[in-house]
Every structure is written in C-alpha cells, then in structure tokens.
Symmetry: C2
Subunit: 338 residues, 2 copies
DNA sequence: TTCGCTATTGAAATGGATTTCATAGCTTCA
DNA sequence: TGAAGCTATGAAATCCATTTCAATAGCGAA
C-alpha cells in the first residue's frame, strides 16, 4: 500500500539516493555540481536521476536556501485603466530584462496580482516570493519607491535618476536627450518650438528641461509647453488639435515618446501639416514602429537590451549586499527624414 | 545567542502562534480564512501577525500544498534572433493573460530561461515550478506541444485549433477572419488579390484558406500568394517591393498581421500606391497603432482580454482534472477608411 | 443527568531539499 | 612512524507551513 502510493508519486531525492546507493547529501552535491563528489559517483547519480525522470523540487530548494532566485518585475500592464498608453517601449524593456535574467538563470515573476501599496511589496519580499524587484517606470509610484528604499528592499528602477531618491535608478540621460532634440531644431533654424508631455513625470520634466536649455541658446526661439495629463493616445491627439485650433503654428515639436509623436502627426495632418516639411518632429524611445511609421519618426534612442542588463546587474549587486549607484545611460539621436 | 539570532530573523508561524497564545494550525487556519476558527482568536492572530510584519513563507506553503499556484507563460521574446517580428499583439495577449491570472491570484512565471526541449517543460512541471503552461503562439513549436500533450502536461495554447493536436488550443477563427477580408474585397469589387504571410504557420494558412474560399465566389478574382518565410518587418517590406517590381499591381492585399500591413504600406508607397484608394488593405489583430497609422488600417480584431481570460480558464479546468475542448473565438472586421 | 452532536483546538506527521558537523580513508611531510 | 591535512561521504538538523487525526468543550435533546 505504502509501496504502491510511493510508486505513483514523483521520485524524491531520497529515492534517487537509495537507487544510486549513496546518501541524500551526495545526490544533492552531485546535482548542484559540487566538486566534493567523485566523478564515478556523480556519473552514476546523474544517470539514475535521468532514468527516473527526477527533477529537484524547486519549492523545497527555495525553502531551504537563502535566495529564491526569483525577481519580481513590475510594470503598469493595466495602465489603460488609468488612461495611460500601453507603450510598446515598456515591453521592449521587459524583453531586455527577461533576457538578462535568463542568462543568470533567475526566474521572472511578472507583476504579481495587486501590488499596490508599500505593504504589498514588503509582504512579497518577506514571504520570500522574490529576492527583489525590478520596476519599469516610476510613473506616479515615486513615494512608494522611496519608502521601499528606506526599508532596504532590494530593487532597481527604470526611470529618472534623482539624487535624493534613495534607490538605485537606471535611466537614459533625459536631459541630454532633450538637448539633442533642441540642438537639432537649432540646426534646422526652427524658431517656434513646442514640447508635448506631462512634466509631472520626472523623466519627462528632464527632457523638457534639456530642450529648454537649448532654446535659450538662441534669442529668436520661442518654446511652448503643451502639457498633457494622461498619456493616452487619444488625449494627446485632441490636445494637439486644440493647440493648432488656438492659432499656434509651431515649426518644431518634441514629444515625450514615439507613440505621442504618432498622435501629434495624426492631429497635425488634419491641418495639412506634415513633418519634416511643415515642422520638425522628434520623438523618444525609438520603438520599432517609429522607423516604419509614415512619415518615419526622428527620435532619441534608448537601448532596451543594455537597459535590461544593467537593471539586472544592479539588482544582483544589491542582493550581494552592495549599494550600487544609479546609472544614466547615454542617448543618441536617430535622424529619419523620409 | 539563539535568542539573538531568532530576533534578527523573520518571524515564523510558530512565533506568531506563541505570541498569540494559540497553536500553529490555528494560525494557519486563521490566515487562510478557514471557518474553523473562532472570531476572537482570528482577530487576535491577525493583529499579532500584522504587528510583527509576518508574511507566510510562500515556499514552505508551495512545498506542502499540491498546487503551486504558479503558471508559466511562454512567448518568443527573443524571436528577433530568429528573425521574427516583435509584434505588439503578443504583448497585448500577455497583458490579457496577466490580468486574468491576477484575478485568480495565481503567479505568472514569465518564459523561464532555456525552455526549449520537451524535457525542459517536463522538468519545470516536475520540479513544481509551475502547475501548467500558457503558451502564446504555436510558432514552430508544434511538435513539442503535441508531445507535451501526450505526456499530460497541463497547458493552454494560443494559436490555431487543430483537431488532431491533442492539446487545448484557444484562437481566433482564422478561417472566418480570412473570409471576412475576402468578402470585403468582393464588396469593393477588387479583382486582383494577394495574401501576404507564411502559410507554414497553421494560423496563417487558415487565414489564407478563408480568403481563398471567398475568392472562388467570383470567377473574375485572381488570388496571389506572397509567401514570406521569416516574419521580420524588413523582409516583408522587401518581398512586397520585389513583388511590385515584378510588374504585379494588386488592388487588394490581405496581410497576416497589422505589422505586416505596415510593411506593405511602406513598400507600396514607394510606387505611389496608397490605400484605400489605390488598393484595399486588410490586416489582422487590431493592435492599437493600427488605428493611428497613416493611413489607418482596416483589420480583423482579436480581443486579447477575452483571449487571456479563456486561456487561463481552460488551464485551470485542466488542473482540476478536466479535459477542456479547444475554443475558437469569433472574429470581427474593423473598417477604417481615412 | 446523560447521550450525541457540533464547533474549536492542538500534537504530530508530512512535504523535499540543503547544510552543518563528524568521520573514515588517504596522502604528505618531517 | 606519527602528526597533520585532504577528500569524500553520511547522519542528523533545519527551513516553514499544511493537514490529518484525536481530543475537548459546549449545548440541546431525551
């Protein structure tokens, strides 16, 4: 009876040990690649394990070990609820992180259910569901993030680098990105600029600030701010339309994202204004569709593969007890004139 | 010493039991919402737990319980390696699945590292890293999927529904989708049709078959197949360009995805052919940018939110021991004529 | 007053690995 | 030849919660 039940069950490490005629610790060592096992035994153990389709129980393993080898990745999946745009960029970033975690053989727990308050994050960490967090986009979560940092929860955040934030942030050099856009407008002798974006977000505020600095280099340049609150495509589009209807005729537009750029193009097209002829346009992120949109979109690149790698690296350093500094990644202007 | 060490450690259920002056099982019951605990005790236990920042160790929990409450979601993140396009649609689908899993409070393990062979899937399941799989896109994995089905690994697959596959598939009615496109072309009196896509993929083959059926309804219609092997944007674009250069002048194009539609638009534009005037174009998926592209793209909708819900539902039924049937979701033509 | 039933409760068994610590068997060096 | 130092190995402790099963208490019915 007990025999029968056991036969139906998956083999445990004890079973493998018995079958290979060694002790359980030896099996454990053999499987984890410890040097403390003689080659002949290791070979025999591996063979027996394979033969019986044995796989280490990850939960028992995680229970015993200090690390769970799992990282929770948080992103605003359901942000349309809040009217934000489901920007492809964030997915590219997710792919970058996923790839980087794969390399280290760490599991990726995606945006677990109901991670809203500080307590939710702390609980997930305490309950050993994840060793740490990678958070894609600060959004309006900044206060939560700061508090988590104070509680020493290991995390790496994609977003603006702020000196006082207390946590490790990784992000592109938004200010420099803004300047690049501005410098391009200066080169093209554009005089009437407008920035499109919600500067309540620090990342976006910095892009605006960089643009503004460039604007001040010429006395002839006028810079407008077309502030949008939500980041939905439709809202951006209607705000842009209103802007034109109020009589404005900018000759240079810098939008906070490529997706927003598409909204601007659509709105401006209704007034027969088409870039790059009628106005210069610069977006941000260099998402794949930006190259294929018509007209194609000049933009500031953010390398999501590098970003993912660095986010993971920084988090791992924290798990090893370090206090890594934030990182600002270089930006690059991708010019497209179709 | 032991005292000191314990103080530094996270509290365990034993600690909470001692502090609340009850036994461990009672704490367990109180926390899991069992009715077998008197109200006053439950309240006291919850209070003590909160006060001491106690969180149940998920790994111990998963070890003991039969279910891990974790689902592995597999998608071709790094498909650019294989030259495939990182289509936003798959991300929308991921969001749909994520949302549906959240509702059930199940964790989402994203495309764990190196899940390539049948053995990798089986091991992950055996090692109790996930209760089952949700696989987004059959891609070229069909043989693996069939073998997994034979081994009774719980899974739900987004893709084409095939009678003999042996696993539970959920997908849109690709044949009907193809017909919808064809019917539209018939209505518009288009005579020279072309389908763009890799019909080695069953989903795409069905779309082509649906279109072909519609084509046979008029003797005047000619249907071409522009077969592409990889799904990269650039390849689609160059194949489309070559097609035109060979002297063809189709007046109706049905592309396997919205992203491919964009590639077609870009290629055809070089010959000054622009839809809907010079030719009719229908895409597939209705990804958000399709509405905003210029010209905007008429397409066949797939509802990713419903898709996610059903995929999760089907997987859960399998975990409960059922053998759910595959599901074909209705399709809908979204007409956009800008 | 006693029997039977229900609502609570807790002791002990259980899930499956990793790690510590002790030991046996061999070398190596003086 | 004896002390010291390795290497390989296993027994037992440990990680932490859930579940089974037995026991108790409280209450109404007879």
């Amino acid at each position: 009876m007990a025999e029968k039940r056991r036969r139906a069950m998956r083999p445990t490490m004890d079973d493998i040990a018995r079958l290979a005629q060694v002790s359980k610790p030896t099996v454990s060592r053999a499987l984890s690649g410890s040097r403390l096992v003689s080659e002949d035994k290791r070979a025999r153990i591996l063979e027996v394990a394979r033969e019986h389709g044995y796989a280490v129980n990850r939960n028992a393993q995680k229970l015993r070990q200090v690390r769970t080898n799992t990282v929770a990745v948080v992103l605003d999946f359901h942000s349309h609820r809040h009217g934000a745009i489901g920007d492809p960029f964030i997915y590219e970033l997710l792919a970058g992180v996923s790839e980087a975690l794969s390399v280290r053989d760490v599991d990726l727990l995606l945006s677990p259910a109901g991670l809203e308050s500080v307590g939710d994050y702390v609980d997930l960490h305490r309950s050993r569901g994840a060793d740490g967090f990678i958070i894609l986009g600060q959004g309006m979560r900044e206060p939560i993030l700061r508090e988590l940092a104070r509680k020493d929860i290991p995390m790496a955040v994609w977003g603006a680098v702020m000196a006082e934030s207390g946590y490790c942030a990784v992000g592109s050099d938004n200010f420099a990105g803004g300047r690049l856009a501005g410098e391009r407008f200066l080169q093209l002798h554009r005089k009437s600029w407008v920035f499109v974006g919600n500067i309540a977000h620090e990342e976006i505020r910095l892009r605006y600030a960089g643009l503004a600095e460039a604007a001040r280099e010429s006395t002839e340049v006028e810079l407008d701010l077309l502030r949008i609150d939500m980041m939905a495509f439709s809202e951006t589009m209607s705000k842009a339309r209103e802007y034109l209807q109020s009589g404005k005729r900018p000759d240079a537009v810098f939008a906070f994202s490529d997706t927003a750029s598409m909204a601007v193009i659509s709105a401006f097209r209704q007034e027969r204004l088409i870039p790059p002829h009628d106005y210069s346009l610069v977006g941000y992120n260099n998402i794949p569709p930006a190259a294929h949109f018509s007209p194609s979109i000049t933009t500031i690149e953010q390398d999501t593969s590098i970003a993912g790698t660095i986010l993971v690296e920084k988090l791992m350093q924290q798990l090893d007890g370090a206090r890594p500094k934030s990182v600002t990644l270089p930006t690059k202007l991708i010019v497209r004139e179709t």
